[in-house]
Subunit: 215 residues, 2 copies
């Protein structure tokens, strides 16, 4: 059974991005602190075309999160640009250069239609204008029986949680406070979201907490 999975870094006070997100600072104030556990990892560096790096307990978590994924979904604000609006001259091709680290079809939620955008390395961005359920349906079809990864941002994860469509959520809890920004558990009816703890993993500078959403 193909699952919809998501994992995201979160501060101890519950923010997945800091306050005042902008084109210069897409993660918001202090948001880079959420990534301090992952950026030094060899597995992360390799996926972003860099060499060297650390190997620790988090490497296994990161590798596992990539396994058996056949397609993904992301919100428009994660694909960018943060200025939003329509696609203008169509020059924007994401944050990741010519060879994005996905290597499978990626469905971008947007209010503005756009032709599919094939990139190098097997990634094609598809733009979905008719809502989160349609995006999931198309991603499931494209995944060919594998799982679908939901990348974020926070608001997109919140929407899939609220709609009861998410199957697994892993939180990478960073030992920092951001004091403001984007949450993922706001505006949910707690009676409609039942979670079951799968595991908690201790790693340098981060705790990985994995949950199954009970249907």
């Amino acid at each position: 059974m193909s699952k919809l999975r998501s994992d995201i870094s979160i501060s101890l006070d519950g923010f997945v991005a800091g306050p005042n997100q902008s084109q210069e600072n897409p993660l918001g104030g202090g948001g880079e602190l959420l990534q301090e556990w992952v950026v030094p990892l060899a597995a992360w560096r390799e996926a972003h075309g860099k060499q060297g790096g650390e190997v620790n307990e988090s490497a296994r978590i990161l590798e596992e999160s990539r396994e058996n994924v056949g397609a993904s979904i992301m919100g428009r604000s994660m694909f960018g640009p943060p200025s939003g609006g329509d696609w203008g001259d169509g020059d924007w091709k994401g944050w990741w250069g010519d060879d994005p680290p996905y290597h499978h079809p990626v469905f971008v939620l947007t209010h503005h239609a756009r032709e599919p955008l094939p990139m190098e390395g097997g990634t094609t961005f598809h733009f979905v204008t008719d809502g989160i359920e349609s995006a999931l349906e198309q991603a499931r079809e494209a995944a060919g029986g594998k799982d679908v990864m939901l990348w974020g941002g926070g608001q997109t994860i919140q929407q899939y949680l609220a709609a009861g469509l998410l199957d697994e959520l892993e939180l990478h809890v960073a030992p920092v406070l951001l004091g403001g920004g984007a949450r993922i558990f706001d505006d949910l009816d707690p009676n409609n979201v039942q979670l079951e703890q799968v595991r908690a993993i201790d790693a340098p500078g981060v705790s990985h907490l994995k949950y199954r959403i009970v249907k």
Copy 2:
């Protein structure tokens, strides 16, 4: 060196008590879900005068949290009654019966002076009207070199965090959403609270995340 330590159960969406706390429901709506990991434990039952119960990874955490504690501090709302105000006829002696599960001096933060209240089993409640720093000073003195435990509620922990007086904080993260209630990380300046992850422990239905506060 005597430390000020605190540990508290918290929901995945960051609440240490649910909405609408009252005398009938001191933990607020859904707040009892935060305690589901601890109430079945043999160690918890024994401390509350009951027999039997479960032994699992959480038992070790609970025992460790009681070790080397010579005195404690709690907010008035945790001592009760939740109606607050002055002490009336002085009949209120806490929630815990004649033999409270502390067995050492407990300093209660309040705006209303009251004579010390000795109970059975070594617990004496002292009522402190001149603020959190005075309470800590008196508790340290009474602890005789051992650590001081800060029990809560959430607002009290928040105050000690904001004042830079807390040394260790362990969060028992329950796999539930409460949707509202009391937080402990609100209204803090994130630049003034630096945390270091000590460990993360996986246990049935709860994750124990321990942090040191960097001075």
